[in-house]
Symmetry: C2
Subunit: 206 residues, 2 copies
Amino acid sequence: MGDKFEKVKTFYFSLWPSLNEDNWSEFEKRLIVKKYEKGNYILRPGEVCNCISFINYGLVRSYYLVDGREITTNFFVEDSVFSNYQSFLSRTPSLLYTDVLEDTEMIDVDYDSLQYAYENIPDSERVGRLVAEQLYILLSARNASLLMESPEQRYIKVLQEKPDLIRRVPQYMVASYLGVTPEALSRIRSRISKRNAELLTDTSSR
Amino acid sequence: MGDKFEKVKTFYFSLWPSLNEDNWSEFEKRLIVKKYEKGNYILRPGEVCNCISFINYGLVRSYYLVDGREITTNFFVEDSVFSNYQSFLSRTPSLLYTDVLEDTEMIDVDYDSLQYAYENIPDSERVGRLVAEQLYILLSARNASLLMESPEQRYIKVLQEKPDLIRRVPQYMVASYLGVTPEALSRIRSRISKRNAELLTDTSSR
DNA sequence: ACAATCCATTGATTTGAATCAATAAATAAC
DNA sequence: GTTATTTATTGATTCAAATCAATGGATTGT
């Protein structure tokens, strides 16, 4: 019961130095627990995203669908924040699908609750600012990666930084996250493992 | 003199409902007027961006340099906000160059002044949040455009939404903003004007 | 007004990745 | 455990855009 709010509470306390138990319980009242089963959709294009969610456990993913082609923008795993933030902020329809890759539990703050907090709970504006800033930094890094790095470089980075993701997500979704076709990612992988093999048997260096 | 702060004052008052003259003059004290001449650089990779600026007049542009190739991320014109926001927020070195395309005057808020405002001026946190949110929405739209639209679609959109920019900026910079080479943009343009000519002379329709 | 430089256009060629296609491997369903 | 379905690999072909190259036009500086 209170268990479900344990992680999200820790999360908010870390961002919110002046948060006390009174304010927290005021805030916690408005939180909503949501469960989703693998294979379902959380959000579709045209719908307005109405909450910011903390993921207790599970894995979801957002993607554009362009000419029948999926373009994955992000994976969201446990202990992080999920939202279609652009839609949430602008109150305009999402362009993204969000589907559930593993059974997932989230703690939602809906738009009205957040506005209520901004008006009534001290220092909540600061949390809103910090969250917006963090999400900006993340989006900016993703943007830089798409513009500056090759799909192969991006794949290697994902391998290093999110090795668990590679195991939990089908390869064709990783491909669409990297901005290439499944065939292309397969070839990237074989190129990499070929290079690694050559390094071991030492055909060219020295 | 006070003239220089006229536009930025209007800008902040529009975001900041409770802003009064006292708080404004407290804030204005810390603003810095900066002038830049065409052809100079405001920021280079490795430098940390230390301010958020309101552009009184002028035009600047930010770009990545990858393998000797410029990739323009944004143009910033008068009456809007300029920053390398990612660097500013994270206090980490910029990956971008920012150069001055037209003589420019900016009103800077530096990082420390902003932190001071957050601590001491009521409701300034809200302005920080709103700015962060607006910048997120803009970046997100740019991202969606790069992922979902063709260079040609992006060009047509720029033509419609920022026709003045096309006139003020060399075509090869527009090309790098669209994510193509100058040659490719030239061909896009000739394709478009050919199509328009065909529509007028009516070779195929009806 | 002139030269010099920068920029835009156009054509020919190359290239990297998408598409098409077939097979193999892995996973899910029964 | 077997079949069916989905996913991954590999090869052949196609395609769109980058590169290379040359010319013409525009802008800048003196």
